[in-house]
């Protein structure tokens, strides 16, 4: 794992090396620049008064006491903000979704605890909170809709909609499927129930809105893409005189929560417009855990039919998700359906997906938002293996799509190619030594110790390249001083793109990585790109960086050839020097060529443009670039306490060409541990009245350093058909970790016949299931 070093200035291939990150020296010395680190002259701060009840009509709002607090500069309700010209909408539209009327603050009704009702703007946050606490709201409380079961039966929580059904999706009816199940040798059935999670970036959301002069609205934002956020604000603004510019320097994690600005951020912009002063809102952790968008809370019922040789014949899937009240996307499981077959030959699929509104916090897409397909399928594959009496690894091998069978078209219409599920499975199983483990497991059981092995496999659709996700762009310049400036539409919230993109560019331009400066923090430079989301940046950003670098290198070569009296084909750039093949003595620093390009126009070819710059917009191969992985986990379950201890974790992934393996492994590790948190610890739950019951990190348990295994990484490298051969890797760990761990726990508890399909697998729940199983015998 040690970081290999590269001698500055010496030619090397940077792509593929575990280089230390360019951003780390800044972040390790306290010189990062997160949104709350920025203070502007005259800046005011916001606190919200939020709903204390899940569902009510607002009878009256009393602001008199709040107004008496010195230092309060503005108090706004929904009606007050209406005049500001800022509107909220769902950027992630879903076909046929039924969306409520979005308001920045609660208008006449509240539909969840934490619904912002009143916005207080004051000299500082302390004063704003003092005043927000004095707001008095008189509610006419109604019976809340909390669960999906209630949502299906209850009157709509949004009166403007005719039901709580926010959207639905399905495969066309296929009468053959019922017949297949009737005749199948084996039918396996189970429902995986995933609890609700909070994304929990360590930096909560935050925004500063500061109007510059008359035209520009400058926004500092904790987000996943300044370009995307600027488009969102601009499209939601009804005032043609306002132009939005979004700056996002360091961002402390996002994971989907910050994919678009939401009600509070847009309300802050509205307040800045109304007050004519810079306004800041920084979300606190109570708000983040109870009022920010949340994730998961889905059920997936999976039935699998196998022939007598344990080969898959059909799957029948029913998926439901709780959207909460104000979802960023009303997605009924479109990608869950599209990817349901995963890496297996599945001839037939029946699928129904439904999304339900409820009086809870809204849903947002969290790292691998469609993971229900992998969790449901892989957990049921293991249940099938137990039921059929076959090794779960053998069951997978028998059904997995090999490289020779690719391209392979799923029954959902997606065509999969350039993936290696079989190779990754074999790699993790090889690391584990299956036979030795089974012997150890059997011996342990005789001592009353319960060990389990879980394996899971998946294919991930990364780098979607349609609609607003179609492309990324790179603008690269060689400055007169020879440094390389690259303005990219990528954005890092910890992804390390400042390093990885510099690695790609340094290779293509033949310069040292230290010579490359990456800029991705300002929507007013560079061009549109969607930023982080959908595991796309290595592929789309990397492809754009390669394309622009090659155009630029060609310009350098042409100019150098002209200046050095050589053929362009004989020019090579390496280590920041321009060389002519066979003529070592004319080698020239790149800086000298660049200086000439800018400052000595008379020496340029007559048709050459001044300067050294190139722009390239790259569309990755549509619709997706697929990556894949197999993980294995060994755990021990204490059957008295129900505590799960993870003993080993082996990850084998294929994300194509790795730009920086340490960054790749960092992405996988972070995702895996988020998945472990989802399986064992984390739970956002509501009581019957719709009150959130996890409001601090003492109640909402994130994994700590005590809860994680040392992850063993291995890699299969099969290049994709994208520029550079890269594949996305940001979400995979979070997608595959849950079924891997579920399968390990279920394997450990196989003697008790416990399926472990209802998450989280807390000690209390596991020990109860074990006790029930023992009592039943």
């Amino acid at each position: 794992m040690s970081g290999s070093s590269v001698v500055p200035g010496v030619a090397a291939r940077f792509v593929g090396q575990r280089l230390p990150r360019k951003e780390d020296r800044r972040l390790l010395t306290g010189r990062g620049s997160y949104v709350d680190d920025i203070t502007l002259p005259g800046m005011l701060e916001v606190a919200f008064h939020r709903s204390q009840v899940a569902r009510a009509r607002i009878r009256n709002i009393d602001l008199d006491a709040a107004r008496t607090i010195p230092g309060v500069r503005g108090i706004f309700t929904a009606d007050d903000l209406d005049g500001a010209g800022m509107r909220l909408y769902c950027l992630y539209g879903v076909p046929d979704a039924r969306l409520p009327d979005f308001h920045l603050l609660a208008k006449g009704r509240v539909v969840c605890v934490g619904d912002p009702i009143v916005m207080v703007v004051a000299d500082n946050r302390y004063i704003a909170e003092d005043a927000a606490a004095l707001v008095m709201v008189d509610y006419d409380v109604e019976e809340p809709v909390v669960t999906m079961e209630q949502a299906a039966a209850a009157a709509p929580i949004h009166p403007e909609l005719d039901s709580n059904l926010g959207g639905q999706v399905g495969m066309p009816d296929d009468p053959e499927i019922a017949e297949i199940f009737t005749k199948a040798a084996h039918v396996v059935e189970g429902t995986v129930r995933h609890q609700r999670q909070a994304m929990s970036p360590m930096e909560p959301r935050g925004v500063i809105a500061a109007r510059q002069g008359l035209g520009e609205m400058l926004i500092y934002l904790s987000c996943q893409s300044p370009h995307m956020a600027a488009r969102f604000f601009q499209d939601g603004c009804t005032r043609p005189d306002i132009k939005f510019r979004v700056i996002a320097k360091d961002v402390g994690g996002a994971f989907g929560l910050k994919v678009q600005p939401w009600r509070e951020e847009v309300a802050t912009v509205a307040a800045a417009l109304l007050l004519g002063r810079p306004v800041k809102w920084i979300e606190d952790r109570l708000e983040n855990l109870t009022a920010a968008c949340q994730a998961r809370e889905w059920d997936i019922k999976v039935r699998l039919a196998f022939d007598d040789d344990a080969r898959l014949l059909a799957a029948d899937v029913d998926y439901q998700v709780n959207l909460g009240a104000w979802p960023m996307t009303a997605d009924p499981g479109i990608l869950t359906m599209m990817m349901m077959p995963g890496p297996y030959r599945l001839p037939k699929l029946a699928f129904r997906g439904r999304a339900w509104y409820s009086n809870t916090a809204g849903m947002a897409p969290y790292r691998g938002p469609w993971l229900s397909e992998t969790v449901g399928r892989e957990a049921l594959m293991d249940k099938a293996a137990r039921q059929i009496g076959i090794c779960p690894v053998e069951l997978r091998r028998r059904n997995i799509v090999t490289r020779e069978e690719q391209p392979h078209t799923l029954p959902t219409g997606l065509t999969i190619s350039h993936v290696t599920p079989r190779e990754t499975l074999d790699q993790v199983v090889g690391k584990i030594d299956l036979a030795a483990f089974r012997a150890e497991q059997a011996a342990a059981r005789l001592e009353g110790r319960y060990l389990g092995l879980g394996v899971a496999v998946y294919i991930e659709p990364t780098t979607m390249s349609t609609s607003f996700l179609s492309s990324d762009v790179a603008q690269i310049r060689i400055e007169p001083n020879g440094r390389v400036s690259a303005v990219l539409s990528t954005h890092s919230q910890g992804h390390g793109t400042e390093t990885t993109m510099a690695q790609v560019i340094a290779d293509e331009l033949g310069v040292a990585i230290e010579q490359v400066d990456i800029y991705e923090d300002d929507s007013s430079r560079g061009g549109f790109g969607p930023g982080a989301g959908g595991s796309r940046q290595a592929v789309a950003g990397g492809g754009a960086a390669i394309g622009a670098s090659r155009l630029l290198a060609a310009k350098v070569k042409r100019l150098a050839a002209h200046l050095l009296n050589a053929n362009p084909e004989d020019i090579r750039i390496e280590g920041g020097m321009v060389h002519v093949a066979g003529v070592a003595e004319v080698s020239t620093p790149l800086q000298r060529i660049a200086e000439t390009a800018y400052f000595d126009p008379d020496r340029l070819p007559s048709d050459a443009e001044l300067g050294l710059a190139a722009e390239y917009r790259y569309r990755p191969p549509p619709p997706f670039v697929f990556s894949n992985a197999a993980h294995a986990c060994v755990c021990e379950v204490d059957i008295e306490t129900g505590v799960v201890k993870i003993l080993r974790w082996v990850a084998s992934e294929d994300c194509g060409v790795m730009i920086n393996p340490a960054v790749v492994e960092g992405q996988i590790a972070g995702g895996v541990v988020q998945g472990i948190g989802g399986v064992l610890l984390e739970q956002i739950s509501y009581d019957a009245q719709g009150n959130p019951t996890a409001a601090t990190f003492k109640d909402y348990l994130l994994p700590t350093a005590h809860d994680v295994p040392e992850i063993e990484f291995c890699h299969i490298v099969s290049p994709s058909n994208s520029e550079g051969g890269f594949k996305g890797v940001g979400e995979g760990g979070a997608i595959i970790a849950p079924p891997t761990l579920i399968n390990a726990v279920a394997d450990a508890l196989a003697p008790f016949g416990v399926d472990c399909l209802h998450l989280p697998l807390t000690p209390a729940k596991l020990s109860r299931w074990i006790d029930e199983a023992r009592a039943g015998r």
Binding site: L28, G30, Y126, P201, M202, G253, A662, G666, F697, G733
Partner: protein, 160 residues
């Protein structure tokens, strides 16, 4: 609100200020002193991002009021590297081990490690225990624990 005159040594520089009694040390360091490397992640003492060193001990800046630091010496992440910019061993270990991604929890993790190794030789288990008091959402702790191992090894070598 009551106001108090305090004098705090922050990273070697004396700071005099008038603060409200309710002002947290974390807010004081960020807003009055400009040490924005102090990160506020939960304001209830769990996440550890706001950890600073007060009179040699790693404490949570959100659970201490600025008035309680009157007369104390405080080190934040800004004050950890040498005057020549040389990284502290905890910073260097985190850099080499890819111990950070978004960098938000990092100040607390580094200062906890730094306070611990300043007390003398430490084992990997000691450091593992100490960093388990910090929440990191990005790294899965893999790089942080590699950094802890490096530091423990260096600490053992220094003690030998």
């Amino acid at each position: 609100m009551s106001e108090h005159h305090i004098e705090v040594d922050v990273n070697g520089a004396p700071i005099r200020a008038v603060v409200e009694a309710r002002r947290t040390l974390a807010d004081f360091l960020r807003q009055n002193v400009g040490c924005t490397g102090v990160h506020v992640g939960c304001e209830h003492g769990v996440c550890g991002a706001c950890t600073v060193i007060v009179d040699g001990k790693a404490i949570r800046g959100c659970l201490m009021f600025a008035v309680q630091a009157d007369g104390a010496a405080v080190t934040t992440l800004e004050g950890l590297a040498g005057p020549d910019g040389a990284l502290h061993p905890a910073q260097q270990a985190m850099l080499e081990a890819h111990g950070l991604q978004c960098g938000f929890c990092t100040p607390g993790v580094v200062l906890t490690m730094a306070a611990l190794i300043a007390d003398g030789p430490v084992s990997e288990a000691d450091l593992h225990e100490a960093v388990s008091g910090h929440l990191c959402r990005c790294t899965g702790y893999q790089g942080i624990l590699r950094a802890a191992r490096k530091l423990a090894q260096a600490s053992g070598e220094a003690a030998a």
